[in-house]
C-alpha cells in the first residue's frame, strides 16, 4: 500500500488533463495527476506515485534515490507489478481486469 514509485511524466492527456503517461524504468502507464493540480506538473517532471496517483513532484536525483531505496528494500518486483497493474490503459479484455493475477 505504501510503496512510493518514482516516474517521469512523458505526456499529459490533451482530452483529460488530470491523466498523464508516466515512464517508470521503461514501463509506461497512465497515472492520475488530480492530487498535484496546485503544482501544474508537465512533461519531463518527476513525480512520486502512490496507488496510481502522483502525490508529489520531486527532483531527478530524488527519483533515482527512491528507486535505489525500493531496490534495497527488495520491493522492485512489487513496484513494477503495481505499475504494470495500473489499468487505466486499454486492456485486451477489460471486464476481466484483476482476475489475471489471481489465476496462478
Amino acid at each position: 500500500v505504501c510503496l512510493a514509485i518514482p516516474g517521469r511524466i512523458v505526456e499529459v492527456d490533451p482530452q483529460n488533463t488530470h491523466l498523464a503517461v508516466v515512464d517508470v524504468v521503461g514501463v509506461r502507464r497512465k497515472v492520475d495527476l488530480a492530487l498535484l493540480q496546485d503544482e501544474h506538473p508537465g512533461p519531463g517532471d518527476w513525480v512520486l506515485i502512490h496507488v496510481g496517483f502522483a502525490m508529489s513532484k520531486i527532483s531527478e536525483a530524488d527519483a533515482i534515490e527512491q528507486m535505489q531505496t525500493l531496490t534495497m528494500l527488495g520491493e522492485t518486483a512489487a513496484a513494477m507489478e503495481e505499475v504494470r497493474g495500473y489499468g487505466l490503459e486499454n486492456l485486451e479484455n477489460e471486464a476481466d481486469y484483476g482476475s489475471r493475477e489471481l489465476k496462478q
Binding site: 500500500v1 505504501c2 512510493a4 524504468v25 492520475d32 488530480a34 492530487l35 498535484l36 493540480q37 496546485d38 512520486l48 502512490h50 496507488v51 496510481g52 496517483f53 502525490m55 508529489s56 520531486i58 527532483s59 530524488d62 527519483a63 533515482i64 534515490e65 528507486m67 535505489q68 531505496t69 525500493l70 531496490t71 534495497m72 528494500l73 527488495g74 522492485t76 507489478e81 503495481e82 505499475v83 497493474g85 495500473y86 489499468g87 487505466l88 477489460e94 471486464a95 481486469y97 484483476g98 482476475s99 493475477e101 489471481l102
Partner: protein, 375 residues
C-alpha cells in the same frame, strides 16, 4: 535510470552510526518509536539495529494499515462479496488477510468475484466496464491512500456511476499516536515520523506531540541514511532537552503538506466518532467515513452490513506487539502457529508488519557464535 543494488554512501552510514553512539548517554535508555510500517520494514531489511548501541531501542508503531484492521471489518466486507453480481476489489496486500471464514483469496477460490486492483481508479474503471455488476472497492490505508479514494469517489459522483461503492477503512495517524502516548504501559522518548503520510498532512499536525507531550518528532525518509540521520536529530534534541518537530525528508515532504489532497479528503470524508484498531481497541475520531453527500457511493450506507466484531485469538499477542510492550519473538505463537505462510495475526501478513519483518530478516538469520547468545 535503472535499479542499482548497493547502499548509497556507506561511509556516511558508518559516520551516522558513530554519531549516534556519541550522542547516546550511556546512563540513559532511549525508546524511539517509528510510526510507519515502511520504516519498520526498512529497519529490519537493512539491519539498522546492528548499528545502534544497546541503549537506543526502536519500538515499532501502528503504521501498517493491513495490520491494524480488525477482522470484523474484513468479515463485513466479504459478507457483501457473496451477493450475486458483486465484485469485491481490493489492493493485493488485502488478499491473504484472514477473515473468520477465510481470506479474500479463499473467497475467490469458492467462486466469488474477487479482484486485485492497484489503484482505486482501476476499481472505478471495473465498474464502468461491468455495468450489470456492482463493484465495491475495499479501501484501506492512512492519509497516503485516502486522497486517491476521495478523488475516485468524486469522479464516480460526477459521472453518476451508480454501480460503484467504497467500503471505507481509511484511518488517520495522529489519533493512533495519541492513543499510544495515553497508554499507561508505554514510555517513549521520541518519534520517527512517517514520510509519505506527511507528504499529505505536512508537519504541523505533529506540533502537539512536541509542545504538549514534550517529545521530539523527526519526519524521516526511507533510506538507511535517512533513518539514521533522523535518529541523530532526535538524540540531539534529547541531549539538549528540546522537543520540536523537524523534517529530515524535506526533499519530498513540504511543511504544509499537499493542499489538493487535503481538499479532496475534506470534500468526501468526515471523522468517525470512533473506530476499532486491531491491538489498540477503540480510538475516538481515528478513522474516516464517507460524508452523507456521497452516501450513494458508500457501501456501508447503501447495503446492510452485519457489523461483525471478532476478538483476536487469545493466544496471539498482536496488541502488545503493536504497542511495543512485547517484541515479536516474545509472542507465544511467533514462528510456530503464526508464520508469513500461515498468519494468525495481522502483523504477520503484511511485509510492513513488525512480525513479518522480524521473521523474514532476523528469525531466519543464520545462527552464529556472535548472535547465538542473544537468542
Amino acid at each position: 535510470m535503472k535499479f542499482v543494488d548497493e547502499f548509497r554512501a556507506p561511509e556516511l552510514i558508518a559516520k551516522a552510526g558513530e554519531e549516534i553512539r556519541k550522542l547516546a548517554d550511556p546512563a540513559r535508555h532511549y525508546r524511539i518509536m517509528e510510526v510507519c510500517g515502511g520504516h519498520t520494514h526498512a529497519i529490519y531489511r537493512f539491519g539498522l539495529k546492528d548499528l545502534l548501541p544497546s541503549n537506543v531501542e526502536l519500538i515499532h508503531g501502528p503504521g501498517c494499515p493491513v495490520c491494524v484492521l480488525p477482522m470484523g471489518r474484513i468479515d463485513d466486507g466479504l459478507s457483501l462479496a457473496a451477493e450475486p453480481n458483486f465484485i469485491f476489489a481490493a489492493f493485493g496486500d488485502m488478499m491473504r488477510v484472514p477473515g473468520t471464514h477465510g481470506s479474500p483469496l479463499e473467497y475467490k477460490a469458492r467462486g466469488m468475484d474477487v479482484r486485485i486492483v492497484y489503484s482505486p481508479a482501476d476499481a472505478l474503471k471495473l465498474a464502468r466496464n461491468n455495468p450489470d455488476k456492482h463493484v465495491m472497492f475495499f479501501a484501506i490505508g492512512f492519509e497516503t491512500t485516502a486522497p486517491s479514494t476521495a478523488v475516485t469517489l468524486m469522479r464516480a459522483k460526477a459521472e453518476g456511476l451508480r454501480n460503484f461503492s467504497v467500503f471505507c477503512n481509511h484511518v488517520t495517524v495522529i489519533p493512533a499516536i495519541r492513543a499510544i502516548l495515553d497508554s499507561p504501559d508505554m514510555r517513549l522518548d521520541g518519534f520517527v515520523g512517517p514520510g509519505h503520510v506527511s507528504t499529505v498532512i505536512g508537519c504541523r499536525p505533529y506540533d502537539w506531540i512536541a509542545q504538549d507531550e514534550g517529545k521530539p518528532v523527526v519526519v524521516s525518509g526511507f533510506e538507511p541514511l535517512d533513518i539514521l540521520q533522523s535518529i541523530v536529530m532526535l538524540l540531539r534534541q534529547l541531549r539538549d532537552g528540546e522537543a520540536k518537530v523537524e523534517n529530515q525528508y524535506k526533499r519530498v515532504v513540504p511543511w504544509e503538506g499537499n493542499r489538493a489532497a487535503l481538499r479532496a479528503m475534506g470534500e468526501v470524508f468526515e471523522l468517525r466518532p470512533y473506530f476499532e484498531w486491531r491491538g489498540l481497541g477503540f480510538i475516538s475520531q481515528s478513522a474516516l467515513k464517507i460524508r452523507s453527500s456521497y452516501a450513494e457511493w458508500d457501501s456501508e450506507q447503501r447495503f446492510a452490513v452485519p457489523g461483525v466484531r471478532v476478538t483476536d485469538p487469545k493466544a496471539a499477542q498482536c496488541g502488545e506487539v503493536l504497542k511495543g510492550v512485547l517484541k515479536p519473538e516474545q509472542c507465544k505463537l511467533f514462528g510456530r502457529e503464526c508464520t508469513p505462510e500461515q498468519p494468525v495475526g495481522a502483523l504477520m501478513v503484511s511485509s510492513e508488519g513488525s512480525c513479518a519483518a522480524y521473521y523474514n530478516y532476523e528469525h531466519r538469520k543464520p545462527v552464529t557464535i556472535e548472535n547465538a547468545a542473544a537468542r
